[in-house]
């Protein structure tokens, strides 16, 4: 066990996409129970710094493991399939078309009900894309294709945040 161990090794979980959220949460709590600085409150500054490092590392892994999208991206990177979201924005034409339709729908939505309907649709699309991503990683082990799915999901997440902002604006 090292600070440099990968997230799955650190959490004692199999290196795959399919995970139980409750299991991740339980492992996280067990690990923090050992490492969190508050558990070593009586010890000195140097020891506290070490505990802080471990605790930070466990939280970092937890943030990545519990979020399916981040988990998928991490698995792709571990297998050498770069996500490179900044310089790789080429997406299939039908995906881009759907994005445009969604944007238009959000612009034209007049009330909370319309925005919420769009939100439900985006949530369904997200769930489907995640499932596909899982199949590519755990089943076909096609990490390059999975990285493409991850990039598409990043677009969807960004749009979901715009919907949230709109809902907030509408006071919902």
């Amino acid at each position: 066990m090292h600070l440099q161990s990968d997230d799955f090794a650190l959490f004692g979980l199999p290196q795959r996409f399919a995970q139980e959220r409750s299991e991740i949460d339980a492992r996280w709590k067990e690990l923090q129970r050992q490492a969190h600085p508050d558990r070593h409150a009586q010890h000195g500054a140097a020891a506290q710094r070490v505990a802080l490092q471990w605790s930070v590392r466990i939280n970092e892994a937890y943030q990545r493991l519990k979020d399916p999208l981040k988990r998928a991206a991490y698995l792709c990177e571990l297998q050498g399939a770069r996500i490179g979201a900044e310089d790789n924005t080429a997406m299939p034409a039908d995906f881009l078309m759907q994005q445009m339709q969604w944007r238009e729908a959000l612009d034209e939505a007049q009330d909370g009900a319309a925005v919420q309907a769009l939100e439900a649709e985006v949530r369904r699309a997200r769930a489907q894309a995640l499932q596909r991503c899982g199949e590519l990683i755990d089943g076909a082990q096609d990490f390059a294709a999975a990285a493409g799915q991850v990039r598409a999901l990043m677009f969807i997440e960004r749009f979901a945040r715009d919907i949230d902002r709109r809902l907030e604006h509408l006071g919902q």
């Binding site: 066990m1 090292h2 650190l10 959490f11 004692g12 492992r27 709590k29 067990e30 690990l31 923090q32 129970r33 050992q34 490492a35 969190h36 600085p37 508050d38 558990r39 070593h40 409150a41 009586q42 010890h43 000195g44 500054a45 140097a46 020891a47 710094r49 070490v50 505990a51 802080l52 471990w54 605790s55 930070v56 939280n59 970092e60 937890y62 943030q63 949230d164 809902l167 907030e168 006071g171 919902q172």
Partner: protein, 580 residues
């Protein structure tokens, strides 16, 4: 102090040595102190049996001061020198105080640090000093209750407090001579109190309502204080009755009229609606549906208002929890956490995994914010960000850290400006400067920077935008200590000896357990430091034993770090084996 002893999690090295640790709710209108006694958290009363200490400090021209009820009683007569809501001024500049002109006392821009100052008959006071008076009063109350010195305290702050406000609260604790074990978010404290009280697992929502202002239009400061007191009495009475008489002496004339609950509810209806929108936003942030919430905890006296309880109950589809007093619940939770952090809880089944309440980012081109740590992320956490130079031979770089959820720097809170210096001269864009932002378990930020290619650690100047400088704190400390210098010396000597003994014991048991981590030279060196400390144990003042303890602590730092690393690695590996 580098105490090297590693014990079983939660087990204090010496079970017979109980430390006095308290939770303090430093509130806008009133403050409380609580402690765990015989396994139960309870609020500590003052000599008159009162639990609530009004957060009011009155400064007198002769240098004297009144705190709490005595100050509150003088508020009408001497509004200009009676500070009633210092909490709202903590970590704030004059420009931040929207209603400065409406306050009955004069505010000034402080020369340094940027925090607002309050002009009183006893000179200009920082909000930090006012808060420190309240904290010191509560510390005294706790020490009187136990007839013993306070080991430390957990102090609560509103979840929305930014870094500057947290730092100011930390400074106030230092001024009051309190060892701060943790700054704890108020709703988190309430959740701890309820979680342990109800002993059930699940998701709980905490609804905390603060109604700071009661709208009254009056001329003088004294009138304002009188009207406010009367309005508050009305508001409180309306919780139990349908109608109440408002009466106050304003501008020399007596004013009477009846207020009905329905009028009050109509006047505050818009506020109730707004607060429900905030609740829905919070649920959306957390990705929760109202029915997934197991219970709703009410915090703050204002949640006694029947219309608020009705609205909360309707939104969540369940009656809010009210079995703990909404005034006390925050202090009780803080006390439980303090007991834990002081190492008093042998079973150690409580571990708070808190989140950062506000996002943290840096200023980029065009006054935009680049988010580095998103709100609600679990702390402690660290995030690294790479920067580069934009000019040939550039050796310094300015970084502006802001806090808030908005996209423009001008809409966020300025936290600090950092200067990175000592970057080796290179072509523009060649330097790779990794800046690491670390948020510790208190939610406080620290920053380190390193040029990746050369390995040069860039020097960082931290200038908190609204903090007090170390010199200001030192001066304030000296002022407050000047009167009791002798007491402090005697106390310091006792503390220094206790500390030295603790350190020697801890080092010895560390050597017994993990001496194999050390080389022969290191072992000899540590033995010599221990011997040097033993020789100082009988010194007449605290200076020599303190210095020798420090030297031993420094000399064993690397050893302590090694031991902690070994301990955690073994524990984590053991966890994983157990679970396979």
């Amino acid at each position: 102090m580098a105490l090297l002893q590693i014990s079983e999690p939660g087990q204090s090295p010496d079970p017979h040595q109980r430390r006095i640790a308290v939770g303090i709710d430093l509130g806008t209108t009133h403050s409380l102190v609580a402690a765990v006694r015989h396994g139960v958290a309870e609020c500590l009363p003052d000599a008159q049996g009162r639990l609530l200490l009004p957060s009011v400090v009155r400064y007198l021209a002769d240098g004297g001061r009144q705190i709490g009820d005595a100050a509150l009683a003088a508020q009408q007569a001497d509004a200009a020198n009676t500070i009633v809501s210092a909490k709202r001024l903590m970590g704030r500049g004059l420009a931040d105080i929207a209603d400065a002109a409406k306050l009955p006392y004069a505010l000034v821009d402080a020369a340094q640090g940027g925090m607002v100052g309050i002009v009183t008959a006893d000179g200009t006071k920082s909000p930090v000093q006012v808060s420190a008076e309240i904290l010191a009063t509560l510390r005294q109350r706790a020490e009187d209750s136990y007839d013993d010195d306070l080991y430390g305290a957990v102090i609560t702050v509103p979840a929305y407090f930014d870094d500057a406000q947290r730092q100011a609260t930390k400074d106030a604790a230092q001024l009051a001579g309190i060892r701060l074990l943790r700054l704890l978010n108020e709703p988190t404290a309430a959740a701890i109190a309820y979680g342990l009280d109800n002993a059930s697992e699940g998701v709980y929502a905490v609804y905390d309502l603060v109604l700071a202002q009661v709208g009254v239009q009056v001329q003088s400061a004294a009138d304002k204080a009188a009207a406010r007191a009367a309005a508050r009495a009305c508001k409180e009475a309306l919780t139990a009755t349908e109608s109440v008489a408002f009466s106050a002496v304003l501008a020399g004339a007596e004013v009477h009229f009846d207020v009905r609950r329905q009028d009050f509810e109509a006047a505050t209806a818009a506020l109730t609606v707004r607060s429900m929108a905030a609740v829905r936003r919070t649920l959306r942030d957390a990705g929760l549906q109202p029915e997934e919430v197991q219970g709703v905890v009410m915090v703050g006296g204002s949640t006694r208002m029947p219309q608020v309880r009705r609205a909360v109950g309707a939104l969540f589809g369940r009656e809010p929890l009210t079995n703990l007093n909404p005034d006390e619940v925050v202090a009780l939770g803080a006390a439980i956490q303090a007991n834990q952090l002081a190492g008093n809880n042998a079973t150690g089944d409580l571990l708070l995994l808190d989140v950062i309440p506000l996002s943290l980012g840096i200023e980029t081109m065009g006054g935009l914010v680049e988010r580095i740590v998103a709100r609600n992320e679990t702390i402690p956490t660290a995030k690294a960000q790479d920067f580069t130079t934009y000019k040939d031979g550039q050796t310094a770089m300015a970084i502006h850290v802001v806090q808030g959820e908005r996209d423009l720097v001008q809409d966020c809170r300025s936290l600090a400006r950092f200067e990175l210096r000592g970057i080796p001269p290179m072509a523009a864009g060649a330097a790779r400067i990794r800046v690491t932002f670390t948020i510790d378990a208190d939610g406080l930020l620290s920053v380190s920077a390193r040029e990746q290619a050369s390995g040069v650690e860039a020097h960082i100047d931290v200038k908190p935008s609204y903090g007090l400088t170390d010199e200001q704190i030192a001066r304030m400390l000296q002022e407050s200590f000047a009167t009791a210098a002798q007491d402090i010396q005697a106390r310091a000597l006792v503390e220094a000896r206790v500390e030295a003994e603790r350190m020697l014991l801890a080092t010895q048991s560390a050597l017994d357990a993990d001496g194999d981590l050390l080389g022969e030279d290191e072992r000899t060196h540590i033995a010599a430091l221990m011997q040097a400390l033993r020789l100082q144990m009988t010194a007449a003042d605290a200076v020599a034993p303190e210095a020798a303890t420090q030297t031993l602590a420094k000399g064993t730092e690397a050893f302590a770090a090694e031991r902690m690393n070994r301990g955690i690695r073994q524990a984590l590996a053991g966890q994983n084996v157990q679970n396979l």
